[in-house]
Amino acid sequence: MLITAILILLFGCLLSAFAARRPRIASGVFLTSLISGCLIGILSPFIGTRPEIVELGGGWNIPSARLILSLDGLSAFFLVATLIICLLSGIYGETYTRQSERLAQSVSIRPLFLLLTASLAVVVCAQNAVLFLFAWEAMALSSFFLVIIEDEKKENRFAGLLYFVCMHISALALFFLFSVLGKIAGTLDFGAIRAAMALGDKYPILIFSLAAIGFGLKAGTAPLHIWLQEAHPSAPSHVSAVMSGVVIKMGIYGFLRLIWILRLVPSFWAIFFIGTGLLSGIGGVLLALLQHDLKRLLAYHSVENIGIICLGMGLGCLGISRHNAALALLGFSGALFHVFNHSLFKSLLFLGSGAFYQALGTRNIEAGGGLLKKMPWTSATSLIAAAAISGMPPLNGFISEWLIYMAGLKALAMGETRLAAVSIAGLALIGGLALACFTKAYGALCLGLPRTKKAQEARDPGPGMIIPMFFLAAFCALIGLWPSSLLSFVKTAAMIVSGEPLGRANLALSGFISNAEILGLIGAAVLSLAAAFSFLRSRLISGFSQKGATWACGFTALGPRMQYTASSYVQVLMRPFSSFMGTQEYAHLPRGYWPTESSFKTNTPDPLLDGFLIPAVDAGGRSLSWIKRKRRARLQYSLFWASLFLLALLAWKL
């Protein structure tokens, strides 16, 4: 089943590449193969006899490479999350591509999207390091080409280059990681490495730091997030949805698979995950608060949510290193649950941002306003996603954050006071700031009065874009109201990561599962009560009510410039943090009794990338410029020195 799905996707990729010059055929091929491939892939863990490991015949003539795919609980979990997002984003993307003048001319967007989907499916199912790395590179390259698809813009080329460099550093670290593991175990099959790992824990720091670079760069954990805020805005919206919803989760998958392979992790893993989780979470949300570019804002929220996931993983690792099965299961369940949730609501937000972008012609949230009336469906689904990502109760984001809180409390009860306290407090701070950030973005875009002419003329996109968003919003609500539907699935995956048997997992998690059910029921009850009351209210006041302009409060000459802007909304909140956020203000304030022109602009660069990395690289380049001047820019000389160096190296080693 799984292999059929992957083959359908790859075949669709080839066919749509051949038919690229005829958009109608290409889009037909794209939709057919995407829908059939993804649906078969999603169903493959559930139906039929489910072999744990599928080995393809034929073999692969690379030393110690085997084509093995597995569908254990962890792989199945990530596979289902991946394919749901790819399916819905792809369907949305088809309409999005056709409506965008620039993307409609692109011949490569459809095959690349299918290739990305197929490689993601292989990454999460691969059981051999060579196959894993192969799929990992395919994923990195296809997403790189999708990022630079609008390569006529300078910032897109920069973002693509940055992404490319980061992904190559990540792949390099992973090559080293798997060669170290292969050297210890003598094989590159994940299962066999796991079996050999029980013997003893060699090179813990080396393995850990390679994994932290390799998987951390992909996941975008805080000091390594530098590519995220550049790449997400550059890619087309449905690609950003997949990249933010799924591709960065591959880093999380890698961490979890590695924990599965190692069986026992030292306690400094827990400290690292909690530390990086706090840094990513708080740093990400603070930077998000200061952005005006909607997709850039969402990209920083991805950093924040990766932070939340890291907090969960940290608590899980704490449980493993302290041999506390309940804490391990709870922490990993929270992290995995949040992985699924974040992929749902973040891709929904990106899809919504694409619809807003096409309507407004800019990603600046200050250009919107009043879109709730103009684009009701897009705004409503985005509202659900925004509430879910802020952790509002009846929705899915709340359940996963609740699980992580529970894990924190469990750790507190175990006596791990410091780690537990910082993770609980950090999670609370992140949640509050995220809520502020989404009220800002949503308020500026959808509420109030339209600020620009385009915002006045905005219309909802066609059903091809609305229906996938509707499905994602429905999933968010469904999981929030009926969490046990996903929890059993999460439990299997968490059980595999923590290496606990099923019986103990059931025992440890049963209380939380029934509590989550109660939470869902309370949410459903509150929602139905609210619905009943609002129905009652509308019946009672019908005929008496009168509608005025939004926020007019009886004032008649209301203009769109009288509203709060997004930056003025967050200014009060951000004042305590202003000293280290590095926001640049360009103010031309009104002067005198009859002020004429005035303007105010702020810009918040990324503190790490723009504040440190680019200046450092520039300085390095300048300090080496004397070598550049001395070098004769002749190909033959460079070749000569390179070959001389290689010969010397060879002679030295022999």
Binding site: N61, Q636, L639, F640, S643, L647
Partner: protein
């Protein structure tokens, strides 16, 4: 069979040598075509177990690509730009022949000291592969015409292929395909680049590119 493969290997090394001392571009292309054909035949006679369909396919692919297709592209490229001879190499022909002899010596010494798996198929394979590789590199270094650079690059790739043949038992599909694709794309691109250089500078000296700088 053993002797035949030895003879082929010696021929391959001599072809490289000949290309190093030849100033005619057409001659160089013909030589590289002959070398490619020998390389294509080599997997057939080097395997003692007889040959399966896979090896036949690879041999045919190598023969056609390296012996026929790539030389065609190259001769097309130089016909377009009307260049016949490499006039001003950085190091003269006699001197580069001498360096070539020296390199063959080095590669025999290196081959005797390389830690290789025990059962290499014939004793000449590794030294010849190293010397072809080094002579290709030398050709890239001492010549300035873009076409001769490409020929040097092809020779270099041939050396890599020979080395791969030495250490892998059944010619591994994926690696071969990768190498072939790589070479083909490279030659293709260079063919186009040569044309463009010629159009921009009225010659195919890579010297002219030096002035572009950064």
């Amino acid at each position: 069979m053993q002797e035949l493969s030895q003879i082929l290997l010696v021929l391959i090394a001599l072809f490289s040598f000949y290309a190093l001392g030849n100033s005619s571009l057409i001659g160089c292309i013909k030589i590289i075509a002959l070398q490619g054909m020998c390389l294509g035949l080599l997997p057939l006679i080097i395997d003692r177990q007889g040959f399966g369909i896979q090896i036949l396919l690879i041999a045919a692919g190598m023969f056609i690509l390296k012996g026929v297709l790539i030389p065609r592209v190259l001769s097309y490229a130089i016909r377009e730009v009307k260049i016949r001879r490499e006039m001003e190499p950085l190091i003269g022909y006699n001197a580069s022949l001498l360096i070539g002899v020296f390199l063959i010596g080095i590669s025999f010494i290196l081959a005797s000291r390389l830690p290789l798996p025990e059962n290499i198929r014939t004793s000449l394979l590794v030294p010849v592969s190293l010397s072809v590789l080094m002579m290709g590199m030398l050709m890239m270094i001492v010549r300035v015409k873009a076409v001769t650079q490409v020929i040097g690059y092809l020779m270099f790739e041939n050396g890599i292929y020979l080395f791969g043949l030495a250490i892998s038992y059944q010619a591994p599909w994926l690696i071969e395909m990768g190498v072939l694709l790589d070479v083909f794309v490279a030659v293709f691109i260079m063919g186009i680049v040569i044309n463009h250089i010629a159009r921009a500078f009225d010659s195919i000296n890579t010297e002219n590119l030096t002035n572009l700088g950064d």
